[in-house]
């Protein structure tokens, strides 16, 4: 150790400071800790709810990659994909953003967005590069939920857009599909939102959306029609080809227009129903596509009631007769004649509609005394028509709806009533005691004869006893007459008046003769009056 000692001697020992206490450098980890803590807290607090969406297929969905988007903004991420216990569904667990929590309610919609070519539009092209994503339509109401079932098809989102939804009723879908355009004057103004089969009427309800401001063009009298493809028509003026647009030629669509009539300009509310016509021609050709069928039971003769005869209400045609058959009712042991009619409710324009939807017009009117009645349309040909008339005195009736067709109560036809009353009058006539009257007359005549004989006797005695006195009186009378004659000459005023009066009497006698001759020829004039045509 001599070396060490030697070294120690050579070098003096330095002073050594050892500093203890807080060093400024500890601020660095402290700051790092604060930042990390804040980041961690932020991440934790921003964590949204975890929800489960059930899909029919997991096609294109990827764990940790597939996003949930609303308006193309990420609001969630798929964190797990697994099959349901019965292997029927794909259960996708999604971590949503905190902001989305409020919108996860009963009517929140989810669906898979992938590249699509439909309705003339290519959509979701981005998903070709990024893979599919899950679209979301936030719920607006209802209780919040964490389990959802995804839609099979991409819905057409119209909730937020200004405009209106309408329902079109159609016999078949034609070539229409969800997302297909709606045209007004060949401008695209909306699209088909959805369609469903109405189980009650067995017809299709097609939901469409017309965006603002075009929704105001849909009025009460608006007619919607299918514009799929090209319309060919040959008429006297030549070949007619019409088409809505290139897209509609290839795919199809719906167009609407409002023909002018009294009520066509009234505004219409959200979700109003319209008929979807097959093509543009059919709007003008067949105005009334909705038919309601009713049965009428008549007991009296329907002679003159033919198929196609009109059904009128207050003189306006509301339908027509479809079928007339003779039926024997074994229960009532009576012949009845059921008449099938169709009513076209579209012919009746309803205004100020505040009534409940389920009360039909016919129910209301039958209750107030509406009856179907056969009426003579033409007395010469005897054609009949069905008249709907309200009889205020009639007992409140009801439309019976237990058979295949609802039954509207009827009333006997008015001509029959007339005939019935004539019969009654005749019967009264028959009851008159004509023979008695004859006997009375005979007795009267014999009495008169007796009286005359007595008068003759009386006159004989008068001849013998009274005449000489009379002759004397007559002579005196003649004298008086001559005196009178002087004063009553033809040119005197009394004579003139007499002459006039006699003339009048002559005229009266003539007209009585004319009348009697006329009556001889036209005895019915006594009842009906003089026919002016003669």
């Amino acid at each position: 150790m001599t070396d060490e000692q030697a070294l120690n001697k050579q070098a003096p020992q330095a002073e050594i400071h050892s500093r203890r206490g807080f060093s400024i450098v500890w601020v660095v980890p402290l700051v790092a800790l604060l930042i990390a803590g804040w980041l961690g807290y932020k991440a934790w607090s921003e964590q949204g709810p975890t929800i489960t969406i059930s899909f029919a297929s997991g096609e294109g969905l990827q764990k940790d990659k597939t996003k949930v988007k609303y308006k193309e903004v990420d609001i969630g991420k798929v964190v797990d994909i697994k099959l349901s216990d019965d292997l029927s569904r794909v259960l996708v667990t999604v971590e949503m953003d905190q902001t989305a929590e409020f919108y996860l309610t009963e009517d929140t919609l989810f669906w898979v967005v992938s590249a699509q070519i439909s309705a003339g539009k290519v959509s979701g092209l981005g998903t070709l590069f990024t893979g599919v994503y899950i679209g979301m339509e936030p719920g607006r109401s209802g209780t919040s939920r964490t389990e959802f079932t995804a839609l099979e098809i991409t819905p057409v989102l119209t909730k937020d857009l200004p405009g209106r939804h309408f329902t079109l009723r159609a016999e078949d879908l034609g070539s229409i599909d969800v997302g297909y355009p709606v045209y007004y004057r060949k401008i695209e103004v909306g699209q088909v939102v959805s369609y469903e089969l109405d189980p009650v009427s067995d017809r299709l309800n097609i939901q469409i959306f017309v965006k603002a401001p075009f929704h105001e063009k849909v009025r009460k009298g608006t007619r919607f029609y299918n514009v799929s493809g090209i319309d060919f028509g040959i008429d006297a003026s030549g070949l007619k080809i019409s088409a809505e647009s290139l897209v509609s030629i290839l795919l199809g669509g719906i167009a609407f227009e409002t023909p002018a009539n009294i009520h066509s300009n009234e505004q219409i509310a959200e979700n109003a129903s319209f008929e979807l016509y097959q093509n543009r021609e059919s709007i003008s050709q067949h105005d009334y596509n909705i038919k309601e069928y009713y049965l009428l039971y008549f007991k009296d003769s329907v002679r003159g009631l033919s198929v196609g005869a009109p059904v009128e209400f207050n003189g306006i045609k509301v339908g027509q007769v479809l079928d007339v058959t003779l039926t024997f009712d074994w229960a009532a042991m009576d012949m009845i004649i059921p008449v099938l009619i169709e009513l076209e409710p579209e012919r009746i324009v309803e205004v100020n509609t505040t009534r409940a939807e389920d009360v039909s017009l016919i129910d209301y009117f039958v209750e107030r005394g509406l009856r179907a009645q056969l009426k003579s349309a033409n007395l010469l040909t005897g054609q009949l028509f069905v008249d709907f008339k309200v009889f205020p005195d009639a007992p409140s009736g009801k439309v019976v709806r237990n058979g295949s067709y609802p039954v509207v109560p009827t009333m006997p036809m008015p001509l029959e009533e007339l005939l019935a009353s004539v019969d009654r009058i005749l019967a009264k006539f028959e009851k008159l005691p004509v023979e008695e009257i004859g006997g009375d007359l005979k007795r009267l005549l014999t009495t008169m004869e007796e009286n005359l004989q007595q008068t003759e006797v009386l006159f004989g005695s008068i001849n013998q006893n009274v005449l000489p006195g009379i002759v004397q009186t007559m002579q005196q009378f003649q004298t008086s007459i001559s005196t009178l004659e002087k004063s009553y000459r033809a040119d005197s005023s009394v004579g003139l008046k007499m002459h006039k009066a006699l003339d009048e009497l002559g005229k009266a006698a003539r007209s009585i003769r004319v009348l009697s001759e006329y009556l001889q020829r036209h005895p019915e004039a006594l009842l009906r009056g003089k026919d002016n045509r003669e």
Binding site: E4, L7, N8, Q10, A11, P12, Q13, A14, E15, I16, H17, R19, S23, V25, W26, V27, V28, P29, V31, A32, L33, I35, A36, L39, A43, K67, D74, L125, G126, T127, F129, T130
Partner: protein, 200 residues
């Protein structure tokens, strides 16, 4: 009193007690034998803790987002390695995993294992070996290289895609600076001296 042999010319020097900021050079060849740094262990430990926190942030948050059109790709440090592995680049993925994640982590933990007890004038078992391993692992920690690669990618891809830097990227760059600072305050000689050993 400690003695130091020069790395270059093997001349043994006797080192006297040194002032707080001093550079000790070989009297024969002029090579730097050691530098004294004030509060070396304290500072190293502080920066080391900051580094560990930043490292955990870098590992748990998204690193980088790339958006090109509708396509969006987000990656984290660990998932990046996983992606490389899934794409068949096993070797490269292992290399990245080792040089950027495992080795820096091992280094930091090892250093912490050695320094934390020293702060309280104690010595952890096998602290000397751990410190030697730490020293020998030094060349394998290549976070700077990784960072450089990312920067190059950013510049090259910037034209094709929108790049969204994640929180982890910021943490990672800070980590590099913190680790660099730590290395500069760490004085191995002082650690060795504190560990004693040669007096046992």
């Amino acid at each position: 009193m400690p003695h130091i042999a020069c790395h270059q010319c093997d001349l043994v020097h006797h080192i006297p007690p040194l002032p707080e900021r001093a550079t000790v050079r070989c009297i024969r060849c002029g090579a730097v034998l050691l530098r004294t740094k004030p509060n070396s262990i304290d500072r190293t430990l502080a920066l080391l803790l900051a580094g560990l926190i930043l490292f955990s942030v870098a590992c748990s948050f998204p690193f980088l987002g790339l958006r090109s059109g509708a396509a969006m790709q987000e990656t984290a440090l660990v998932s990046g390695v996983q992606t490389l592995y899934n794409q068949g680049m096993t070797g490269l993925s292992m290399l990245v995993l080792m040089t950027c994640i495992l080795i820096p982590l091992a280094q930091m933990l090892g250093l912490f294992y050695v320094l934390a007890p020293l702060k309280f004038n104690r010595t952890a078992p096998f602290a000397g070996r751990v410190f030697r391993w730490y020293r020998s692992l030094q060349p394998w920690g290549m976070m700077e290289v990784f960072m450089l690669a990312i920067l190059i990618a950013l510049v090259k891809l910037g034209e094709m895609a929108t790049i969204i830097p994640g929180i982890a990227l910021i943490a990672f760059s800070l980590l590099i600076f913190v680790l660099a600072a730590m290395l500069s305050v760490l004085e191995p000689h002082q650690v060795w001296e504190k560990l004693g050993g040669n007096h046992e």
